[in-house]
């Protein structure tokens, strides 16, 4: 009977698929996508695969410790190595979402910048959130600070900010005249939070949200927005690659470190560790800033970097002068509460 043949085919297919599914999966590395991940692919991923003959898959994500919680608590974790932001590192480490790192394998904690060392994570890059605009569209009388970001009279057009309370609330307060050193003190009070949301209310009709680091350059390029906050490296990469004339305002930039973590229970832990050793080798790290100006985290890397890119790094002294270091401890305590408030505010 024909249906029996169909069954035979179905059973064979299922058996085949099951056997495919039973195979161990490849090491998967998750980063922030776009120009940044393109650079990482050239500098880290491809050389790593060639050198160690380890097959690897990549993925990109747009952050949020909830995504990682959902993966681990839902039992659906198909990620091994993930690049995370500072408060995701602290939150996730405390909640047991990551494997503890073996620092001896990574050459000891002294080898790295202090901000790049954590029980669960090792720093990947040092970077800044900066104000960016298109120099071909705003020529004379350019904006100089977050205060100007709010001035839609003088500089008409939409604004883009990253969808989430972290960085957005700090920027709102600085635009409202709070000095960088007082930002977290203010944000720690209810009045401070109200003040930040009030300031955002003013801009809301003109706000567009981005979620992935690759979006701000696109929003600027398409003319969708006149100004945006952005990762400094993406803006430089767009200028470099797509011959854009985007300008960066470093005043009151928000400075921070991203880290690599290994997800809890990863079946590829050994390969993941080898990968982390590879990406923290100064000989490899020095190749990243020329492709995208994000600072290295191993101390020995900086002297090896091409001198011409140093002024574009977040760590350049003139860029550090007015910077606000993002306070990861603050966000560890307040992220959940402020996220809830922020999401409700956005959805309205």
């Amino acid at each position: 009977m024909q249906s029996r043949k169909i069954w035979a085919v179905a059973v064979t297919t299922t058996a085949f698929v099951l056997s495919v599914a039973a195979l161990a999966r490849d090491l998967s590395v998750v980063s922030w996508g776009g120009a940044y991940q393109d650079a990482q692919r050239e500098v880290y991923f491809k050389p790593f695969m060639e050198k160690t003959k380890t097959p690897m898959t990549e993925e990109n994500w747009d952050g949020g410790v909830g995504t990682l919680r959902a993966k681990v608590q839902g039992g659906n974790n198909n990620w091994d190595v993930v690049q995370v932001e500072s408060e995701e590192l602290l939150l996730g480490c405390e909640e047991g979402l990551y494997e503890k790192l073996d620092w001896a394998k990574l050459g000891g904690k002294d080898k790295y910048l202090p901000d790049a060392v954590n029980d669960c994570g090792v720093g990947a890059i040092v970077y800044s959130f900066i104000l960016a605009y298109d120099g071909d569209k705003i020529k004379a009388d350019a904006p100089k600070s977050w205060v100007d970001f709010w001035n839609t009279q003088k500089w008409p057009g939409k604004r883009a900010l990253r969808k989430g309370p972290k960085t957005t609330l700090e920027i709102a307060l600085m635009a409202d005249g709070v000095a960088p050193k007082d930002v977290y003190k203010t944000l720690g009070t209810n009045e401070g939070v109200e003040r930040a949301f009030k300031k955002l209310d003013q801009l809301k009709p003109n706000l567009v949200w981005w979620e992935k680091g690759s979006q701000p350059p696109q929003l600027l390029a398409s003319g969708e927005v006149a100004m945006t906050d952005a990762y400094n490296g993406r803006i430089a990469a767009a200028n470099d690659k797509d011959k854009k004339n985007f300008k960066i305002v470093w005043t009151n930039n928000l400075y921070t470190v991203d880290s690599w973590v290994i997800m809890k229970g990863s079946p590829n832990k050994a390969q993941a560790e080898t990968f982390l050793v590879f990406v923290n080798d100064p000989q490899n790290q020095k190749n990243l800033p020329p492709k995208i100006p994000y600072g290295p985290t191993a101390k020995a890397s900086t002297p090896l970097i091409d001198k011409s890119v140093l002024p574009n790094l977040a760590t350049a002294p003139q860029n550090m002068a007015s910077a606000l270091p993002i306070n990861d401890k603050f966000w560890l305590e307040n992220l959940d509460k402020l996220s809830q408030r922020f999401n409700a505010w956005v959805a309205k």
Binding site: G66, R69, A70, S222, G223, D336, K337, Q340, A347
Partner: protein, 422 residues
């Protein structure tokens, strides 16, 4: 198939002395056998869908009303709170039980799940639990109550403890109420949630409104098109139908991408308008409600045109002609004679479009703005971006109830087996 019945009939008729009872019994037996065979053919798919569709969805939905995390992770304190009257602060024993629970949970690495659950109810609870876990001294000297309140005065508030008791399960209405922007206060009565967190009524209303508007636009655009096509000679009707079917077959993502390209600020339409001098500066046509309507109508219009067309094709033109020859004005002839006959098509099309629109996710996510997202977006958000599965389930319950109710109406009026595909 029927051979069994035929054979039985034959045998019964052949024997002259067989009585009618035998005949009936044989027929019944053979019909029963037929039914069993038929059911056996359906069974594999039935079991497959039960395992891969009904059970998973049922299990997911049950998370919206079942709440056992806290009893599992913090067993001592939930037991201690059973007898709490809720009027004053709980007894010292409850404080001591909580401290013991926090220590065990911290050790077992389960504190995060408990913290996540309680944080949904009282924002900031996560911090409360974890800072207690971090700061509690290894040896308690003195009262457990003082120790906890010393770490955070919130432990001295009734609401904090009420939240733990509310999460004690096993059943809960917390998420369902939350999906309607409601919550229970410390005394257990239902009140509105904090105003800055009320979003879901807006979202539900928006989902219904967008679906209704899209359905309406589909009828307005689809009706004349179906009418014109049905009036064409077969050859030309075929060509025109092809134009309706092509987008129907084209990947949803491809069409959504196309709209992004067309509508974006420096996209195809804006550059056309600018060069024709229709506008002086580019129009904002994407990441807003307009783009959502355009893209959704585009995707769903074929579902309106096709059932309308198949109904209209079967209406003999002689009816309208008869009405006209009896002196009816064209509009009257249309409205009183033609239109009523197309009502089944309108009904089928509207239900199809509305049901599908309710569950839309990808299109609004790609072309809409933050305040154009429909309920599906929030289900996905709670399921994969935070681990608030209870909320995802509660919202799913609402969406599924609405969808299934309409599906039942469709089934009743039109019949599922008559659904048209391309």
């Amino acid at each position: 198939m029927l051979r069994g019945a035929a054979a039985a009939l034959h045998a019964a008729l052949a024997g002259a002395d067989d009585d009618a009872g035998d005949l009936r019994r044989a027929l019944r037996r053979s019909r029963r056998r037929e039914q069993l065979r038929a059911a056996a053919l359906v069974l594999p798919l039935f079991l497959f869908l039960a395992a891969c569709f009904v059970v998973p969805i049922g299990a997911m939905l049950s998370r919206g009303v079942i709440d056992t995390d806290i009893t599992r992770i913090l067993p001592a304190v939930t037991a201690a709170l059973k007898n709490w009257d809720g009027r004053d602060l709980p007894a010292e024993s409850a404080y001591a039980a909580l401290i013991a629970d926090i220590r065990t949970a911290r050790e077992a690495g389960t504190l995060a799940s408990a913290a996540t659950r309680l944080n949904y109810d009282v924002p900031g609870f996560r911090t409360l639990l974890f800072s207690a876990g971090r700061q509690l001294p290894a040896e308690l000297n003195g009262s457990a109550r003082d120790a906890l309140i010393g770490i955070d005065p919130k432990w001295g508030e009734r609401e904090t403890w009420a939240a733990i008791r509310r999460a004690g399960g096993p059943a809960t209405d917390f998420y369902l109420l939350g999906a309607l922007d409601l919550r229970r206060d410390a005394d257990g009565s239902v009140v509105g949630g904090p105003s800055e967190q009320r979003v879901f009524r807006d979202v539900l209303g928006r989902t219904l409104w967008i679906s209704a508007m899209v359905t309406l636009m589909c009828v307005i655009l689809g009706y004349p098109v179906a009418y014109v096509i049905s009036a064409q000679p077969p050859g030309r009707a075929g060509v025109l139908l092809f134009l309706v079917l092509l987008p129907f077959w084209t990947s949803l993502l491809v069409r959504t991408v196309a709209w992004v390209v067309l509508l974006q600020k420096e996209g195809v339409l804006n550059s056309l308008f600018l060069s024709l001098g229709i506008v002086n500066e580019p129009l904002k046509m994407i990441f807003n409600r307009f783009a959502v309507y355009v893209a959704m109508v585009h995707v769903l219009l074929p579902f309106m045109v096709l059932p309308l067309y198949s109904v209209m094709r079967s209406i003999p033109p002689s009816y309208v002609r008869a009405a006209s020859s009896l002196g009816a004005r064209p509009f009257t002839a249309f409205w009183r004679v033609y239109m009523p006959q197309t009502l089944p098509g309108i009904g089928a099309g509207c239900l199809m479009v509305f049901i599908q629109a309710l569950g839309y996710y990808i299109t609004p996510a790609l072309v809409g703005g933050a305040d154009d997202q429909m309920i599906s977006y929030f289900i996905a958000f709670y399921a994969s971006r935070t681990v608030n599965w209870g909320m995802a389930a509660a919202l799913s319950i609402m969406l599924l109830t609405a969808t299934l109710a309409l599906y039942a109406v469709y089934n009743r009026l039109i019949g599922v087996e008559r659904m048209r595909l391309g």
